[in-house]
């Protein structure tokens, strides 16, 4: 599913290259990138940068930090490409790196709550007095979702982000996180419940 999300990013350039007969499946690109082909790795970056950035942003809550950590994720991936045993699992492997990078950053002392860019949350949205009908907009809804994500504990936030926001399968989530399938299902169920409580007003408006 992550692959599906990433495919759109490649766009016209990729189609042009396909017409030119260039072999650009992810597997081909991984093989080429392993030999030091930076152009192949750039194409992999184009495919996966957005879902990785989105995932990391959901974990840390700050755009500037998410960009730094996405950068770190791809640098680590490049330097450890030789360790990737099954190239078909590149996507889950990459998300696993991203998850570790984000977790390391969070454990340096920065919590999601303290790291969130408070300036990006208008004050009226953080109070329950204001009417959602007045405040509602797509952008503001995104901020509300991010605030709700912030309130989840780390495991639930990871599972919820991967399943609901990234469309990752349960099996892939177990591979990325190392959690059991039962834990993934339970964390997801509870995370959905908590998110529902926080976003009830917006869902009802919808």
């Amino acid at each position: 599913m992550i692959d599906h999300l990433a495919i759109d990013l490649v766009g016209i350039k990729r189609r042009k290259e396909s017409r030119a007969g260039v072999m650009n499946s992810s597997l081909d690109l991984i093989v080429r990138a392993r030999t030091g082909d930076h152009e192949a790795f750039r194409l992999l970056f184009e495919r996966y940068a957005r879902p990785i950035l989105s995932f990391v942003f959901n974990q840390v809550g700050r755009h500037d930090v998410a960009e730094e950590l996405t950068q770190e994720t791809f640098v680590r991936a490049y330097s450890h490409l030789q360790d990737l045993r099954d190239a078909e699992r590149f996507s889950t492997w990459l998300f696993g790196i991203a998850r570790n990078v984000a977790r390391e950053w969070l454990r340096t002392g920065a919590t999601v709550a303290s790291s969130l860019d408070v300036g990006s949350f208008p004050e009226q949205l953080s109070t329950s007095d204001s009417s959602p009908a007045d405040d509602y907009s797509e952008k503001e809804l995104s901020r509300a979702i991010l605030r709700a994500l912030r309130s989840l504990d780390e495991d639930r936030r990871v599972v919820f982000s991967l399943k609901v926001l990234q469309g990752t399968s349960y099996q892939e989530i177990t591979e990325i996180t190392g959690f059991s399938l039962a834990k993934v299902k339970t964390d997801l169920h509870r995370a959905r419940g908590e998110m529902r409580q926080k976003l009830r007003r917006y869902v009802e408006m919808k």
């Binding site: 930076h38 790795f41 957005r50 959905r192 976003l199 869902v203 919808k206």
Partner: protein, 270 residues
């Protein structure tokens, strides 16, 4: 089954992860439970707002430039930050093992070396009978073999002197009488290293002849791999010289030699 359990099943179904077995029971429950029908409708509504949220992040145009700058930085740059701050730091930060564990690792490395030497022996047209007799002679302390009969170990030692810089800088005596084997881990390490150096020198000569037959792409790739391995060997040798009792360092150094043998063999096999 309670509604909460049905709702977990409903979520799995909604996520496309349901199994067929409980589906009939689930549908039957949905027909009779208004709360669970409302729950399903809620899942659909939430899904709409989450999908709008997913498209809220854009990749900055200069992000790739930053990644590229870092992956194109020469590896030595990271070495300047300290030998163990890069990829070497994790393995070398492992707890140290006893001298006897070192000996076990070294014996394993020697096993690999023997296999390599057998391979090299097959590659070489030279028959090893003179070598064997020379060895027997040496072991029996038979001094001064005939100078016209250059023994195979001596030939190999000469080859080592002509090998690349890495090998040429090795200060280990090569033509001295064989040391008693298996006495100390240090001696075992030296023996194993010596055998790898000899094998590498021989393979390097054959690989040098093969270079003209390789296509430019493969040649560039193999040269890059060799350069990388040479850097690793240089780094690990330095560490082993500083910490000769560190079994992990020894293991990494011998693995690096083994990797160079593999790359050279690949070059020859093309």
């Amino acid at each position: 089954m309670k509604c909460d359990e049905f709702q977990m099943l409903l979520e799995a179904e909604f996520d496309g992860e349901g199994t067929s077995e409980p589906q009939i029971e689930l549908n039957r429950h949905l027909d009779s439970c208004a709360d669970c029908r409302a729950f399903l409708a809620q899942l659909r509504s939430e899904s709409e707002i989450y999908s709008a949220y997913s498209s809220d992040v854009n990749v900055p145009v200069d992000l790739w430039t930053k990644v590229q700058a870092r992956i194109e930085a020469p590896p030595l740059e990271s070495a300047n930050r300290g030998l163990f701050t890069g990829w070497l730091s994790a393995p070398f930060s492992l707890p140290r093992v006893s001298v006897w564990a070192t000996a076990v690792l070294v014996l394993a490395a020697i096993g690999v070396t023997v296999a390599v030497m057998k391979y090299v022996g097959n590659q070489s047209a030279v028959v090893s009978k003179p070598e064997q007799s020379a060895k027997v002679g040496q072991l029996a302390n038979d001094a001064s073999p005939n100078p016209n009969q250059i023994s195979e170990p001596q030939k190999k030692a000469d080859d080592v002197e002509q090998a690349p810089a890495l090998v040429a800088h090795d200060k280990t005596p090569r033509t001295s009488a064989p040391r008693p084997r298996g006495n100390t881990p240090d001696q075992l390490v030296q023996d194993a290293e010596q055998k790898y150096l000899t094998a590498i020198a021989m393979l390097s000569r054959t690989a040098q002849r093969k270079r003209s037959q390789l296509d430019p792409g493969s040649l560039a790739r193999l040269d890059q791999a060799l350069a990388s391995v040479d850097r690793t060997i240089a780094g690990t040798r330095k560490v082993v010289r500083q910490h000769p009792d560190d079994p992990v360092a020894v293991q990494y150094m011998l693995s690096a030699y083994s990797r160079k043998v593999d790359v050279l063999r690949e070059m020859i096999g093309y």
